[in-house]
Symmetry: C2
Subunit: 280 residues, 2 copies
């Protein structure tokens, strides 16, 4: 099978590595607006060829969009316009509803399978691509009844070849749940970084004290601003809602701390410990 | 040399492992109010003996307090009362100023070296003790001019035997800098956990989506509530100040998101990316 990967950064590049290694793809064609990234992906052997979008699609059985969610909407339209009735398209964007809505009336909507593998690192670009990024993680497939059975099957097969666990929900549910768990985590981390950069003027001190927990909590603050600005623009209402809950809990914690009610703080932190039972 | 470790949990137990392994200590005596922990530390071979506080001190050259900072103040007093003029005491608490102040007028103040190794995990108890917890991390020694030269030297030697890098500051500076970098990270993580637990009612969904960044950001929320309630009670003003900055930045981010100003969000996140240059 020939796979076209549109966007050969961390997500697309890591996908290419695994689909080569596990034999799912015989040939992988990369497409990237960023010439340097495209060249790098070739050099690293992530893809067999780099082609313009239309040439890549002409050759591919499966087209995977691994570009920021803001870019997915126009590109997905073009791709659906170009494919025939047997080719299959999926995307790996971190939001789903706006993308799904944008192609709801496209005559080839059934060839598209909206998906979202819950995997990534804080790094970007083809050099950041790693093997087994996806293994043992969850991939979400949305609105599966809107996709043709053979298209759905091909995308499921791809994710299973990566040793991913498949779960299904509709696009609206997806955006709510990812806001509540994943998107808020990124905001928490980005603004923790800015807080520490604002308050602690000595970068040497930040470095020296980082092993006291800051380092892991702030890891996501290294993530791509382009990717996340796009996500927040497509999931504003859900993200703003959970962000307000976070602000309320922080404000409440601060009030009780200033009031000297440390038993209340203890209770709040003990409640937070429940996360260990869920995550292990 | 005989070392008495008061509190054989994660911090004390990990210390015991390394001081045995590197030959700094010939004999380590554990003291713990929690009988089960004391017994476990003996079983695990972390300590050669478990004794009551006064018996342990009678035998020890160096006494290390590795109990929560709320317990350190009374215990440090008792220990200083009991030691002779050649024994040395240090503590590993995450706050320093309140502890230092509490013994400022003690006649044996010079035998005490306030310190804080910037190391830990989200786990607690003697079973959580690990080797090399301290290696390549920073240990802070505070107000070194207030300690006798030989006492300072012994504590420095202990930290160097753990391959720690020593830095020096006064107790006030310590509490400001740790609030700005380490303590705020814990609040960020504890309340992220509570936010997600409040908004996302399905624990299965939390588990499934956790690999999208939540898992690492929330790691510190598994930390000991007792330890951290004590820290916040002893560093309230500094922690409240940096917490307010964090709340302000989150509120500002939310306002711009709701106003559709995604370029502003991009700029804030790009600013946060600077943390990569500092932490690597």
């Amino acid at each position: 099978m020939t796979v076209a990967i549109i966007g050969v950064g961390l997500i697309g590049g890591s996908l290419a590595k695994d689909l080569h290694a596990n034999g799912f793809a015989d040939r992988i064609i990369g497409v990237d607006n960023n010439k340097a990234n495209a060249q790098k992906a070739l050099e690293l052997g992530l893809v067999e060829a780099v082609l313009p979008l239309n040439n890549a699609i002409a050759e591919a059985d499966l087209i995977v969009l691994t570009i920021p969610v803001g870019a997915i909407i126009p590109v997905l339209h073009s791709v659906l316009d170009m494919i025939n009735g047997t080719q299959v398209v999926t995307d790996m964007g971190s939001t789903k509803q706006a993308i799904i809505k944008s192609v709801a009336k496209h005559p080839k909507r059934q060839r598209y399978v909206p998906s979202h593998p819950m995997a990534g690192t804080e790094n970007s670009g083809p050099e950041a691509a790693i093997s087994n990024l996806y293994a043992k993680r969850v991939a979400i497939i949305c609105d599966k009844d809107q996709s043709a059975a053979d298209a759905l099957k091909m995308v499921e097969k791809m994710y299973k070849s990566l040793f991913m666990q498949l779960i299904y929900m509709n696009g609206l549910e997806h955006d709510v749940h990812t806001a509540y768990v994943s998107h808020i985590s990124h905001i928490s981390s980005f603004l923790l970084a800015n807080t520490v950069l604002e308050k602690e003027k000595s970068t040497a001190t930040i470095f020296n004290l980082a092993s006291g927990g800051f380092e892991s909590t702030v890891r996501l603050a290294k993530s791509s601003p382009r990717m996340w600005a796009d996500v927040f623009s497509q999931n504003t209402a859900n993200v703003a809602e959970v962000l307000q809950t976070y602000i309320d809990l922080l404000t409440d914690f601060k009030s009780h701390m200033l009031a000297g009610d440390y038993e209340y703080l203890y209770e709040q932190m003990e409640k937070a410990n429940a996360i260990r039972k869920i995550l292990g």
